[in-house]
Amino acid sequence: MSKYDREQILRTSGVNVLKCMRCGKCSATCPSYDEMEYHPHQFVYMVEKGEIEPLLQSKSLYKCLSCFACVERCPRGVEPAKLVEAVRLQVIRQQGMNHLKPDDIPALLDDDLPQQAIVTALRKYSK
Amino acid sequence: MQELMLAKAKELLQNGTVNRVLGWQAGEFVYDITPAVFESEQDLDAGFVYNEFCGNNLSKYLIKESRKEGKVLAFLKPCDTYSFNQLIKEHRIIRENVYVIGVPCEGKTDGETLKSKGVKGILGAKSEGDELIIDTLYGEQRLSKRDALTARCLTCKSKKHVVYDELLGEEGEEVPENHRFEEVEKLEAMTPDERFAFWRGELSRCIRCNACRNVCPACSCEKCVFDNPASGISQKAAADSFEENMFHIIRAFHVAGRCTDCGECSRVCPQNIPLHLLNRKFIKDIDAFYGEYQAGEDTESRAPLTNFTYDDVEPSIVYKGGKK
């Protein structure tokens, strides 16, 4: 299962994890670092090693802000954010695995919250 | 157009810009066109023509003409300008000695093509939209351009001049969808046996008259290797049947990356061998392997065979059917 997951994640993300030189700049620049159990550089390394299961279980998946800082600053062009997204897709594409359901939303709203936040969250958290 | 060109030629002769004119001259029949140099207004009036039969590529004549004294006026059709540029790039034509006037071309016909469509007693022809109106002894006849144009004009790559000093008439456009590689593709799709049979059928007709070599603007060597006893492969007369194969393959190879695909070789072949299909194969391969390249498009770029990149395809690509 894990091997299949690994292949699928690599294909979905289009990321070549072998380009990583382990400099840690992605994690150095990540604004959600403290909120994440596994950090961007660990995503890269763990996918490379095939340790997918802990990533699939991790709430780190929902902490990435998709701000592209790691993508922009990675000296090797690895694009860790795409990897995080691919792992998340691997989870939420399964039946009943949506992280956020439309029914949950009304409770989270306030008067000024832009629509943009809602559609983005839905796109990121559910299928 | 012919009148316009005549007037221009006379004007330039008169004001001394040029002292002779390279153009076309009709022979016994209107479709019997030969390139000619005119030195005076009288000459021009007597012989100069520009009509639907003037397919001859004049560029090659400029190798000699541009080395003579004074300046020569040359009328060049779009496809001729590619050959002209290529010869400039190869330092064969002295640019300063040529005054180039670009003339429009909507595709040319020739006597043979028309006769093959049953047209007889040809007196003249003019282009009108998608049709060619042919004046014959037996009255006017109309043919669609598809039927009337020479094969090479049907796959014309560009109606736009790549070089000129002055332009007469409207500038045309490049023809991106020219389908000129379709015949090559057809051959490539055949089995090796079929290809072999095809080429054996074609090349076996060769009589080694050298017409292709003599007309080709890229084949402009001071002395051809096949005429040079020191080269080790000179051929006075074909000693064995192999030599003609060698001739055509080597000739195509020598012009590879330099051939502008003007189609003169096939036009002049008395045996109607589709020699341009050899050249086009090289052009197609070059485009596929090394990126698109049009010889004669400019005067600076390096030709594909005098260039390389570190990650060029390996020759083994041929075993893989030419697919990258």
Partner: protein, 262 residues
């Protein structure tokens, strides 16, 4: 001059001001923004999955619509801008995605990324020109020290956005100069405000917005400007910074400077 215009969902709703001032200013500058008739929401975020097709089609349709009109497509919201440019880049440069998306679209001529997407700021810089903008300004905002807040989506990924140097941008600073104010240079101008995570984890948004606001205040800014409704929301609602600087859409200041703000 006419351009196609993609406002996006938020500009029709919570961020109507951002939109209104942009249109008024554009007219004042001789630019006509033609809103695409059939635009659909871009989804707010670009799906990075290479095999995500359906979620990108709304963007591709908008791009195709602009292509049919033969116009460049102007965006304003940072998120729409990011999504449209990324989708366009994929249509042009990812043959597999392009093929599959075109199969869905069933167009006569496949869409291959022909439309040029430009952000409103690029319009000001490259079409109007900041020098000309300066000349058109009626009420220069003299002496105001303004911090340009780029956030994350406007410039990144730099390779795709092709808008400005993503680490050392100047487009908004030049804009601030053009309307007569003084830009403040500060490091967190391209750090994230917390973004959509605010929906389920306010703490992140508070932390990030505070860091942004603190840095701007620390560098003596009197005000922040942004192009993104979500940034504006997070900075105004969720910053726990002691200093609460006003945060405005850049189009508001533009309209003010041009004298077209009602």
């Amino acid at each position: 001059m006419n351009f196609s215009y993609y406002p996006g969902c938020t500009l029709k709703n919570k961020a109507q001001d951002l939109d209104r001032w942009a249109r008024l200013s554009a007219e004042a500058l001789g630019i006509h923004l033609e809103e695409l008739e059939t635009w659909q929401c871009c989804g707010g975020a670009y799906s990075m999955g290479k095999d995500e097709i359906a979620s990108k089609l709304a963007s591709v349709r908008a791009l195709q619509a602009a292509k049919e009109k033969g116009q460049d497509l102007v965006t304003l919201c940072s998120a729409c801008h990011n999504v449209l440019k990324q989708a366009n880049d994929a249509m042009a440069n990812d043959p597999d995605f392009s093929l599959r998306a075109n199969n869905y679209m069933a167009l006569d001529t496949p869409y291959k990324g022909e439309t040029k997407v430009i952000h409103y700021l690029e319009l000001l810089r490259d079409v109007v020109g900041f020098d000309n903008l300066k000349k058109a300004v009626k009420n220069p905002l003299k002496g105001k020290k303004i911090a340009a807040y780029y956030g994350c989506l406007l410039l990144r990924p730099g390779k795709v956005m092709q808008m400005d140097n993503p680490e050392n941008p100047r487009i908004m600073e030049d804009f601030i100069r053009a309307i007569g104010a003084e830009p403040v240079l500060w490091a967190n101008r391209n750090e994230c405000c917390g973004g959509y995570a605010v929906l389920e984890d306010k703490a992140i948004a508070v932390k990030k917005s505070t860091a942004v606001m603190d840095n701007a205040a620390d560098q003596q800014a009197e005000m922040l400007i942004t192009a993104c409704p979500l940034c504006l929301y997070n900075l105004t609602k969720n910053s726990a910074s002691e200093t609460r600087l006003p945060v405005k859409y850049f189009t508001e200041l533009l309209a003010e400077a041009l004298g077209v703000k009602e």
